[in-house]
């Protein structure tokens, strides 16, 4: 300890050793309690102020949550989402400086059935969380993931956004809100604490079969994320919420960004990691915690007694290389130790990306992925990684034309100018249905027909997930039904295609 002072004069090259004797960088009076980044020491009070301000600033800057909006907080029990809950509580309290003016509700999705928790364990966890939720006074919903089996097909269809709210309308809305009812905005529903939804065991089993049918942990993860999101959106819709707040923090998002890239989700990157995500149209997903690092949240929760509940997940107790998600997580956290700006740099990259498909770009559901509801990214030009993969698969399975020494040099009239490779059967470019319909030439025919059929309805990455599944028959009904509907529609369109003047225009009008 006594060496600290000596080091202090040693030029800027050496990293300063954090010390309990240092003063807060903000008020320069109180002694520091936490070190957030190298050199940023905060005292307890300033840290709290800084933390709270960040949350308000994030919401204020983006102007997506309007006063009076009903907002559903997705709380998983983890430190990040619990911290988000406490921030909302804080912001809604009467004496808050810049009061938040929306109507929150809480949803907790109980995934215990997937990770193999017993019924008792699940009841215990839920009870623990209920205690936390009840203390907030907000209405809350505990939804077992098994309910995903009973969802309607409308979940995977993008609903038209009910009313466009340009950011300019924000100020008016605030004024109006202040005039009309500046009073109580909380209307906690009286919930019967005993009314826990009972989950039939058969449902749990079915769900487990579904998850186990994915052969790799990577695919299981991806599938679980998709199902969870569908259930969240559905809950929000049925309970009348228009926005859903997710607790993703900066560290998590940096990991998610690299994971998404590694999974081939580049096209959806901005939606997966940006502040707001409007792929579902009427429901907007928001990530207000994205400016906080995991470390900040952990400090805050610790200093201000924010309760979180540990719940095992799919990759709890797995090895580093168990899945791509897990591998990326350990890569980022390890690199962060040696290069402290890793997370923030990756995170900033996400801010520079475009939210490609805006909410109103297309209403036609057939060019959206069946699972992740993002615009399909499989219609790429001839020279793309997607096409190259198809070519490789095809070439590895078909016999090459018998050639002897003599016809090796056979002068195939290949014009370099022609942009379409003559042999590539997989680029059946016609039709705006984008999905590379493999019906005709039947390459990749080794797969069962079911899977191949789904393929045309999926984006690149979701297709990889489905490819890792032993069978698609375990998928929930709503997905299979919607798949059939879309296939019927595209078949219909094929039949009438010669009468359609211009695909794009006709469909904008038709649907």
């Amino acid at each position: 300890m006594c060496q600290v002072d000596e080091d202090y004069h040693d030029g800027l090259d050496r990293a300063e050793v954090p010390s309990v004797f240092k003063k807060c960088v903000k008020c320069k009076e109180a002694s520091a309690a936490v070190v957030i980044r190298a050199g940023d020491t905060f005292c307890r009070d300033c840290f709290k102020e800084y933390f709270i301000h960040k949350f308000r600033a994030m919401l204020g800057k983006n102007r997506i949550i309007f006063p009076g909006d009903k907002v559903l907080l997705a709380v998983s029990g983890g430190s990040s989402s619990c911290s988000m809950l406490s921030q909302v509580q804080e912001g809604l309290s009467q004496n808050a400086h810049k009061k938040l003016r929306f109507l929150p509700g809480i949803v907790y999705i109980d995934e215990g059935g997937v990770v193999g928790q017993s019924v008792d364990e699940r009841v215990r966890t839920v009870a623990e969380l209920q205690a936390v939720f009840r203390a907030t006074g907000f209405p809350f919903y505990v939804v077992p993931l098994e309910q995903v089996l009973d969802l309607p097909s409308s979940v995977v269809v993008m609903a038209p956004s009910s009313s466009e709210q340009p950011a300019s309308a924000y100020k008016e809305a605030v004024d109006q809100f202040l005039k009309s009812n500046s009073g109580s905005c909380l209307n906690p529903k009286d919930q019967d604490p005993t009314s826990l939804p009972v989950v039939p065991e058969a449902h749990t089993q079915f769900l487990q079969q579904l998850i186990v049918s994915a052969k790799t942990l990577t695919a299981r993860h991806d599938l679980l994320n998709t199902l969870r999101q569908h259930l969240l959106v559905h809950t929000a819709r049925t309970e009348g919420y228009r926005k859903v707040m997710l607790g993703d923090n900066c560290t998590r998002l940096a990991i998610k960004l690299l994971t998404s890239i590694s999974l081939g989700r580049g096209a959806q990157l901005a939606q997966d990691t940006g502040f707001s995500d409007s792929r579902y149209g009427d429901i907007i997903l928001v990530r207000p915690m994205r400016d906080y690092s995991a470390k900040e949240i952990a400090y805050y929760n610790h200093l201000f007694n924010v309760v979180s509940v540990f719940i095992p997940s799919l990759d709890t107790k797995t090895t580093e290389k168990a899945s791509i998600q897990r591998l990326t997580e350990s890569f980022v956290t390890k690199l962060q130790v040696d290069f402290p700006s890793t997370v923030s740099t990756i995170y900033r990259t996400s801010e520079k990306l475009q939210t490609a498909c805006g909410s109103s770009s297309t209403d036609d559901s057939s060019d959206r992925c069946l699972l992740c509801v993002c615009t399909l990214d499989t219609s790429g030009e001839n020279s793309s990684s997607f096409q190259a993969t198809l070519t490789s698969e095809q070439l590895s399975q078909t016999k090459y034309p018998a050639r002897t020494k003599t016809d090796r040099l056979h002068p195939a009239p290949v014009e370099l100018e022609s942009s379409v490779p003559s042999g590539s059967c997989c680029s059946s470019g016609g039709g705006e249905d984008c999905g590379e319909v493999e019906s005709g030439e039947g390459c990749c025919s080794s797969k069962e027909p079911e899977k191949t059929n789904l393929k045309t309805l999926l984006c690149y990455s979701c297709h990889l997930t489905i490819k890792d599944m032993s069978s698609v028959e375990h998928l929930p009904q709503y997905i299979l039904l919607e798949a059939q509907r879309r296939k019927r529609r595209s078949k219909m369109r094929e039949e009438i295609s010669e009468f359609l003047l211009d695909d794009g225009v006709c469909f904008r009008v038709g649907d």
Partner: protein
């Protein structure tokens, strides 16, 4: 469990990790009592195994013997299930197995010489890396009395089509047929390499369904024979070239050749495709001599050999000619840190200058899919959005005038497949790391990518797909392309990076080009001296 009898033959073959595992069941179809083996056993009966009814090989290969102490008829077991005695022998002479030992397979290469007479005399036949279903087809009709195994593990069979008695051959010499356990010197087929994943019979190529598969494609996981792999690899490059419309007939194309595996394979494939599909291109090799003793001088020798093999003209441009500095000299001044910055910037420009000297229309480089994916990851990790957007482009035609367009025909080829291709084609390439330290941060990205590939082999293509589909927000500032005020090369600043670096070297201020010193560019252009303070900052390089 296995007895601990020491077996002289396998003493040195004890695997370090004891990965071998074999389960013996006393009855057929994996019924009855079972015994697990993880090492050699000279006498199963002594170990309490009454009879061998069926065998499950979890990790192999293994060899079983009819008699104790590894004598008598031999049966080779690879990874898989053997439910009945007739699944491991087709000589059908005996159904007993009394001894077992694991076979150590460590060599990737396989070379064996067979001799007609004992003591390596008489007519001989040499086999490399390939299975021989029948010697008759190869014109060898003599007996096999002595064998010399130069590398790899081989199994000989009494009859054509891998039938009859089996004889295991490991590295070493077998002077007489009794030394490999044969009573009559007759061997008529041979298999090279015991890998693991098949049940007694080799897997067939998924493409031609005729020949035995030699490799598992890293990219798709399919098992292919050598010929089909060559064809698929070449055809894929061909289709990449067509789909991206990389070349026009009559163009002069320079192949950037370093002598490494990527550029060697590129040169080979380009020449081959140009002939096969009548591209009508005039190809030439273009090399850059960075002046790194012990690295580039050696690899350039490889390029020169390639030049003769492929009969392509070769042009070598050196840093010394172009800049007056060799990398060796630069490292002396700059130190081991950051010298890659110099080398990278100079090489790019050197290639362009060489291309202009040769009057080349296009340059193609050997960047492979791994390189592209790695660059995508790197640029995300560095937040370099401008590079992120263009790093997946297959060609730089869009970059404007003043530069010779560069393209990457191997963009979708996995590094592993390039190595496989070079290996099986026996291409001559140079493989040594540069003697100056590699870029540390890139190393992290590389390791991460390799790990990703091991979890999901398609990851490399998936990352490229991601990169190709990224869209950048409108408001993000992008560098504007201009030209260098000194040499006229493209640059986003007043001076191009190469000129800044060179200026730094010549003024003895090596840090000038490292980090951002845009403010000084005007001063440099007008040949003004720098202030003392600026100089001090740029001089210090800590060794």
């Amino acid at each position: 469990m296995a007895t601990d009898h020491q077996n002289p033959a396998s003493k040195q073959q004890q695997p370090g990790t004891s990965a071998f595992k074999l389960v013996i069941y006393e009855q057929e179809n994996f019924q009855g009592r079972c015994h697990e083996l993880t090492g050699p056993s000279n006498n199963l009966q002594e170990a309490g195994v009454e009879k061998v009814g069926s065998i499950l090989v979890l990790c192999g290969p293994w060899v079983g013997y009819e008699q104790a102490s590894c004598k008598g008829e031999q049966y080779v077991f690879e990874k898989g299930e053997y439910p009945r005695w007739d699944s491991w022998t087709n000589s059908r002479r005996s159904d007993t197995i009394v001894a077992f030992r694991p076979i150590k397979v460590d060599s990737q290469e396989h070379k064996i010489v067979l001799y007609e007479n004992p003591s390596f005399a008489g007519k001989k036949i040499e086999i490399i890396d390939d299975d021989v279903p029948s010697f008759h087809a190869h014109g060898y009709q003599e007996k096999v009395s002595s064998v010399r195994v130069q590398s790899g593990t081989w199994v000989g069979y009494q009859y054509p089509g891998y039938r009859g008695y089996q004889y295991l051959f490991e590295k070493g010499e077998y002077k007489d047929s009794s030394e490999f356990g044969a009573q009559i010197p007759q061997i008529q087929s041979f298999r090279a390499g015991l890998v693991g994943d098949f049940v007694n019979m080799p897997i067939l190529c998924s493409s031609c369904a005729e020949k035995r598969a030699m490799l598992k494609r890293p990219k798709t996981g399919h098992s292919l024979c050598k010929e089909c792999f060559f064809w698929a690899f070449e055809e894929e490059v061909h289709r990449t070239i067509l789909a991206a419309n990389l070349f026009q007939p009559g163009e002069i194309v320079g192949i950037a050749a370093s002598g490494g595996k990527d550029s060697t394979v590129l040169a080979h494939v380009m020449k081959l495709l140009n002939d096969r599909y009548n591209y009508g291109l005039e190809l030439m090799l273009l090399s850059v001599d960075e002046g790194i003793t012990g690295y580039r001088d050696d690899s350039l020798e490889t390029v020169k050999r390639n030049q003769q093999q492929y009969e392509l003209p070769l042009m070598i441009v050196s840093y010394e000619e172009l800049y007056g500095w060799t990398m060796d000299a630069i490292v002396k001044q700059v130190g081991l840190k950051n010298n890659c910055t110099f080398c990278g910037v100079f090489r790019r420009q050197a290639l362009d200058r060489g291309a202009i000297m040769l009057k080349v229309d296009k340059i193609c480089t050997g960047h492979n899919a791994d390189d592209v994916a790695e660059t995508v990851l790197m640029n995300v990790m560095r937040g370099d959005i401008a590079r992120l957007r263009r790093c997946t482009a297959i060609s730089t035609v869009s970059e404007g005038d003043g530069v010779v367009p560069r393209c990457k025909p191997l963009k979708y080829a996995y590094e592993k497949e390039i190595v496989l291709y070079a290996y099986f084609k026996k291409l001559d390439y140079f493989s040594t790391e540069c003697i100056y330290s590699p870029n540390a941060y890139r190393g992290h990205a590389r390791t991460f990518l390799k790990d990703l590939e091991s979890v999901r082999p398609s990851s490399i293509m998936d990352i490229i797909h991601s990169g190709e589909n990224l869209s950048v927000r409108d408001g993000v500032k992008m560098p504007v392309q201009g030209t260098c005020g000194r040499c006229g090369y493209i640059s986003s600043q007043a001076l191009c990076k190469a000129c800044v670096l060179l200026e730094g070297l010549n003024r003895g201020l090596p840090r000038l080009g490292i980090g951002k010193h845009h403010r000084l560019h005007e001063k440099l252009l007008s040949q003004q001296p720098l202030t003392e303070k600026e100089e001090r900052k740029l001089k210090s390089v800590d060794f």
